[in-house]
Amino acid sequence: MSAPPAPPMPRTAGSAAEAYRLEGELPMVEQPAVPFVEIETVRAREFIPAAKEAFGALIAEQGQAKLIRPTFNWAGRNSLFPLHWGLACCAIEFASAFSARWDSERFGIVPRSSPRQCDLMIVNGTVTWKVAHKLITLYEQMPEPKWVIAMGNCATGGGPFRTAYSVVPGVDKLVPVDVYIAGCPPRPEAMIDGILRLEELIRERRE
């Protein structure tokens, strides 16, 4: 007994899954016989998605769970480049965390000035409405995968300036936040601890 022939892939919009779903709902239409060998030039732009799909499936089945994802997660969590900027008080402790006593570079944390080269935005201070759209721009300029740490009370929820007219009550109203660090300002140890917790999150990440 041979398996029924797969329905033809739709050429335009829609996906294979959609075609299968339709098949369940509608009565089968008689298909003309397909010749065994079809001589056709395979174009690169058709080949690449197909190959991607095939290899993607292969990797998803076999390698990804055991090899590829752990490897890349290991790399990703051990080299987090935070964005080098300072908003307010916490920025000083942020800088202290890179000084000789705490030396975040031990963990591979190196601040970069260009958002294009960063994985991690540490919001180290009070976010005002005036700077909000620039913060979002910076976040959008960072390439995926990216993370955000809200450092200190102001970034978490407005802190002592919560009632002020110009302050965003927590940066999570602007961008998704992964880790919140309490403190006003948090000590450098706390900042490093926050980053290590983020590393734990990345370790369990599946994508």
Partner: protein
């Protein structure tokens, strides 16, 4: 020589592999598979792969060396938690950058944006095929290998400028302009310093230049040329007293501001490749390459791969000097840099050339021999 060279090694390897495959194959196939052209092509590929692996590993270890050394200069530790003493840190960085989303800013020029870093990386890598590392590590004797190396070395400003221009970012553009101006300004004294070496050694072949240094290394008699060469090299490598194109304080990240992910990794890797090549050249031209003076006990120079070992030791020490300079000097300004380049470096390098010519004329080189070796 050819049987000893790295290229010979790869040829032998491929030949062995193909003949063993051919021995189990029927008639027409075994003749085809052991044919000379195929062996040649494959051995070139194997040679390139060995070079690639060696250069990559060396570059990554070089970055580690710089980070640890810089950490010590700054009273801290540097990377230490990933792998033993942070040795795997740079592999993690590389893998992470590989994993990052590759993108292009909306207003950037596609062709230039992607080809710039790639070409910069490739030209830096080609250099490894040219430079001899030890007696067994070259692609055969090129009579003009020094000129070829320097020619390839000076391609870089073009590609930096292309990628900076096509990024469509004001900081990138300014960085690219500075980079081009600086590299062109320092190309001239660099080459003139090399001319001094060529005059003394009488050859453009790096292998010959090294064997000429068997008795005395050139840093003693050609000290002036060495100073000019190191300064020029610092400018070419864009390291800290001359790192204006990436001056972090004013031009965010200089010409690679808009680059992220793998393209940024290309830039970083190519920068350090050039750092490695620069240190190689200093060692080859002035510090005797893989040779060691005769007063060093034979046990230290006669073990297998001793040439490579000593060559790498010298290279890393020279790079350590560059790191030391980076840790202790501030950055100069563009106009000061160019003024020093055109007004000071060129006269100095001309003086070095004349000095070398005078030394050769009066034949008093052994007097200056820094490490005289009467035995050889």
């Amino acid at each position: 020589m050819s049987s000893l060279s790295l290229y010979g090694v790869s040829f032998d390897l491929v030949h062995l592999l193909l003949t063993s495959i051919g021995s189990v194959l029927p008639y027409p196939l075994d003749a085809w598979i052991t044919n000379g052209t195929l062996v040649l092509v494959l051995s070139v590929l194997v040679f390139a792969a060995i070079l690639l692996a060696a250069s990559m590993i060396n570059t990554i270890v070089l970055i580690w060396w710089e980070r640890k050394l810089l950490g010590r200069f700054m009273d801290r530790r540097g990377a230490m938690h990933v792998g033993y003493a942070g040795l795997l840190q740079n592999f993690a960085d590389g893998l992470k950058l590989f994993r990052k989303h590759t993108f292009k800013p909306a207003e950037a020029d596609t062709l230039g944006f992607f080809s710039g870093p790639t070409a910069y990386m490739v030209t830096s890598m080609i250099l490894f095929g040219v430079l001899p590392i030890s007696t067994g590590w070259n692609s055969g004797s090129l009579p003009l290998s020094l000129l070829l190396a320097l020619a390839i070395f000076s391609f870089a400003p073009l590609f930096i400028f292309v990628s900076a221009w096509s990024s469509n970012n004001k900081y990138s553009l300014m960085g690219g302009m500075r980079s081009a101006a600086q590299m062109i300004a320092y190309e001239v004294p660099l080459l003139l310093a090399v001319v001094a070496v060529v005059i003394v050694s009488g050859s453009f072949d790096l292998t010959t230049i090294v064997t000429e240094q068997q008795n005395y290394w050139f840093w003693g008699p050609l000290f002036l040329a060495l100073v000019v060469f190191v300064a020029g090299m610092l400018a070419e490598m864009e390291r800290i007293p001359f790192d204006l194109p990436e001056a972090e304080a004013e031009l965010v990240e200089g010409w690679n501001t808009e680059y992220g992910g793998m393209l940024f990794a290309f830039f970083m890797l190519a920068d350090y490749l050039r750092g490695l090549v620069g240190s190689f050249l200093v060692v080859l031209l002035f510090l005797g390459g893989w040779t060691m003076p005769s007063w060093v006990p034979g046990a230290l120079t006669n073990f297998p791969l001793a040439g490579i070992f000593w060559f790498l030791v010298k290279t890393y020490l020279v790079f350590g000097l560059f790191v030391w300079i980076r840790a202790s000097l501030p950055r100069v300004r563009t106009d000061q840099l160019l003024r020093v380049g055109w007004n000071r470096m060129i006269p100095l390098s001309l003086a070095a050339v004349f000095l070398a010519a005078a030394l050769v004329t009066v034949k008093c080189l052994p007097v200056f021999g820094c490490l005289p070796s009467p035995g050889v």
